[in-house]
């Protein structure tokens, strides 16, 4: 039994934390929140140089060739620091699509650039309100040209390449959609940055008008591959959420130790103490579920779909819980622009929706447990 990261992985985590402590301060996050830059380019270049972008990309494609366990510990630190960089879009999604379904030529064309940070990738999936289903996809490819509107697309305004889910040919249901690679700097692409609840992570609307598109994977495999990659990304995202939850809990704890009211530290009041204890409980449950999912991700276990949904539901719940109660523990100061509580509140609610909402993942978890067997519940 070994449900823990290795000493080397923990050392990597410490290294990334030290790097982010120095380079991704709350002030740096605020620069993105308040300024015109869509992401922290210097930080992203630094992460590339450190090798964390390419951690799980094979050396043959310009990566470091470590495992997804290393990427998990990196993700936790990125979440903790609220890093305003497109790692999720470019690495958890775009690179993962290429690794799972890309041709040799596609991998060679894009993976080295994604690993080095020279190019940013993303996944153009959603078309408007509500839970995405195959039948909601209206973007379509005809004679090699892709047309339609994807919105919101994470980092769609800064990405150089997108994996796009689109209709190819007729039909309905999951078999009617396929994946395509589109160079976003090429013709037929126009994009607008969207106003969102969390400006530290960019979102865009992308309109395609007969943009050149190259198939990724087989025709009709689009939904299947998307599900696989979303599961893998959900686990990494869950680590980001656990990192954020832990940091929000620490902020609340530190404030409760420091802040005096009625002649005593507010952390000595049970109303506050118990709120913090409950936050600790959520974040601990989420962390344990994430470790299980990390095992499934790294070992390619058949439990991966259930483990991914479990980690995702648990981590979304924990981060939202910790971020909202962090504000509550801070009282009125927690609602000021000057205090950092809202940065965590924004991110926790944005990440809760990225890759599909909480209710979507709750439903997926139970569908998968029902489809599998009762052992999944034990």
């Amino acid at each position: 039994m070994n449900l823990d990261f290795s000493e080397e992985q923990k050392a990597l985590k410490d290294q990334v934390r030290r790097f982010l402590d120095a380079r991704c301060t709350p002030a740096a996050v605020r620069t993105i929140l308040e300024g015109p830059e869509p992401f922290d380019r210097g930080l992203y270049a630094g992460l590339a140089e450190l090798g964390v972008l390419g951690a799980a990309i094979p050396e043959a494609y310009g990566g470091v060739g470590l495992s997804h366990l290393e990427l998990c510990v990196v993700a936790e630190e990125l979440g903790r620091a609220l890093a305003p960089v497109p790692v999720a879009s470019s690495i958890y999604l775009a690179a993962e699509f290429l690794l799972q379904a890309g041709s040799e030529a596609q991998k060679r064309a894009w993976l080295p650039k994604l690993a080095s940070g020279q190019a940013v990738g993303t996944f153009a999936f959603v078309e408007g309100q509500g839970r995405m289903t195959p039948d909601k996809v209206q973007t379509a490819v005809a004679s090699g040209g892709l047309s339609g509107v994807k919105s919101p697309v994470s980092d769609g305004d800064i990405a150089d390449v997108a994996i796009v889910l689109a209709r190819a040919g007729g039909g309905r249901g999951a078999d009617a959609v396929s994946l395509f690679v589109v160079d976003l700097n090429g013709p037929g692409v126009s994009r607008d940055t969207l106003k969102t609840i969390d400006p530290t992570r960019s979102q865009a609307r992308i309109a395609f008008d007969n943009a050149p598109a190259e198939p990724l994977g087989g025709t009709g495999d689009g939904w299947h591959v998307t599900t696989q990659v979303m599961d893998r990304a959900a686990i990494l995202m869950a680590f980001e959420q656990v990192g954020g939850a832990d940091r929000a809990l620490e902020m609340a704890r530190d404030y409760a130790l420091d802040r005096m009211a009625f002649g005593r530290p507010i952390g000595s009041f049970q109303a506050i103490k118990h709120m913090l204890a409950n936050m600790y409980v959520s974040s601990t449950l989420a962390r344990s579920n994430c470790y299980y999912a990390a095992w499934a991700l790294a070992s390619g276990a058949v439990e991966l779909p259930v483990a991914a949904a479990t980690a995702r539901v648990s981590a979304t719940t924990a981060f939202q819980h910790c971020a909202k109660n962090n504000i509550q523990v801070h009282g009125g100061m927690g609602f000021t622009w000057a205090f950092d509580c809202h940065l965590f509140y924004r991110r926790s609610n944005a990440l809760a929706l990225a890759l599909g909402s909480l209710s979507t993942w709750e439903s997926l978890l139970i569908e998968r447990m029902s489809a599998g067997n009762l052992n999944a519940a034990a």
Binding site: F5, A277, L365, A377
Partner: protein, 419 residues
């Protein structure tokens, strides 16, 4: 990361499995599997005798109290081996119920505080299940505030050095079939409350000890009140110094929180099975979006507890002490089983009120509904557990204690007392 045993662990597991396979009371397996929370698992024969018989077999072959030293009836095994044994014992571990308090709490306290002769006399029969122990701590006036207890022990006037005990304990699990009790008393009412306590052990057959079952809110009687009327205890049965009882009790309570809550089920698997079978609007309940949302939240709590346990086992396997994350077990499990029971009844509609053999799963969820309030109180209430997490894990300051430096006799005993 992996879920595999080390070679040594695998060898030990194979030995444990072979012993259980050859010797476990398999004729009891069907009823042990069916057992619902809060009721005695074994109905077909005397449950206490069934428990003692299995414990005796384990003791004879060296499988009892694995974590205790051999000289006291244990097996000198490592914590990870104890965990592996528990996994392999499976449903038969329910038979250990009568010994949980003795093995988990009283035994370790005796081991830490009694003289060598006493340990040689008391511990082996406790390990083998021949003698059962209970823990005489809680009182009507001292539950979460244990140090507020009022059972008095005073020196006998005959110069023998013996102690005379008068008072009442409550919520004593298993007192009715216990041979020995671990008893905390007040010996000095004129000093602050934590400083005037003294710990003893005594035979439950001592004259003046009376055990009365408590009829619980769910109609069952798993706990007792124990009355002490001029009970005489030799000074040799004192554990720790006079006035050191609080410190001695911490040994017990530390062990209590380790035993209660590790590996607790939340009954999620049973709920999930029910949701696949039960129908909402002509479809399995698990197809309904609202049901799925609730189920998913229960599922991730169950799974989070399971893998928190595995993180603790990982630490044990490496010879380390598990981290503070293990402290969440009972807090999460208790609240979850209560909410889960209410949800299961909700899905049964108006028929959920019925609690008999026609109820789904033999009325398991109704039993759970009625028993689960106790889980949130026994062995440290939810509120005490949150204080522990807040203070010991997160490092928050303790509450202000207005009675801390006040002589016990001067502490108000009613919130409505005249000032």
């Amino acid at each position: 990361m992996d879920f595999d045993d080390t070679p040594e662990e695998a060898t030990f597991r194979a030995q444990a499995r072979a012993f259980i396979d050859a010797h476990a009371p398999k004729h009891l397996a069907p009823e042990l599997k069916r057992a619902s929370f809060g009721s005695s698992a074994v109905q077909s024969e005397d449950p206490l005798q069934a428990s003692k018989a299995w414990q005796k077999k384990k003791a004879e072959a060296g499988w009892a109290c694995l974590h205790w030293p051999k000289e006291y009836g244990g097996a000198g095994r490592s914590p990870i081996e104890r965990v592996i044994w528990g996994q392999e014992e499976g449903i038969y571990s329910a038979l250990s119920g009568p010994f949980v308090i003795g093995h988990g709490m009283c035994g370790p306290t005796v081991m830490a505080w009694a003289g060598e002769d006493q340990k040689q006399r008391l511990l082996p029969p406790l390990a083998s299940g021949e003698e059962i122990w209970c823990q005489l701590f809680s009182e009507p006036a001292g539950g979460s505030d244990l140090a507020g207890l009022r059972t008095r022990a005073v020196r006998a006037e005959d110069g023998s050095g013996d102690w005379i005990v008068n008072g009442q304990k409550i919520w004593t699990s298993g007192a009715q079939h216990s041979d020995w009790g671990l008893l905390i008393t007040r010996t000095a009412p004129d000093v602050p409350k934590h400083k005037g306590l003294t710990m003893f052990f005594l035979s439950m057959r001592t004259s003046g000890v009376e055990v009365r079952p408590i009829k619980q809110a769910n109609g069952q009687s798993g706990f007792n009140e124990v009355y002490f009327k001029d009970v005489r205890i030799p000074d040799a049965q004192r554990l720790g110094a006079v006035g050191q009882g609080w410190q001695v009790s911490l040994t017990t309570l530390m062990n209590e929180r380790l035993s209660i809550g590790t590996g607790m089920s939340t009954y999620f698997p049973e709920l999930f099975r029910f949701c696949l079978e039960a129908e909402v609007d002509g479809e399995p309940a698990a197809n309904d979006a609202a049901v799925r949302s609730r189920l998913a939240q229960f599922a991730v709590r169950q799974s989070g507890l399971k893998y928190t346990g595995m993180r603790a086992i990982t630490a044990l396997s490496k010879g380390q002490t598990p981290g503070p994350e293990s402290s969440i077990g009972k807090l999460v499990a208790g609240a979850t089983m209560q909410e889960l029971a209410m949800f299961a009844l909700d899905l049964q509609g108006q028929a959920g009120v019925v609690w008999d053999e026609t109820s789904p799963q033999d009325g398991r969820f109704q039993s759970l509904l009625m028993r689960s309030p106790a889980t949130r109180i026994e062995g440290g209430s939810d509120e005490i557990l949150r204080n522990i997490i807040g203070e010991r894990v997160l490092g928050l300051p303790g509450d202000i204690r207005v009675d801390k430096d006040v002589p016990f006799k001067d502490i108000p005993t009613s919130g409505r007392a005249k000032s």
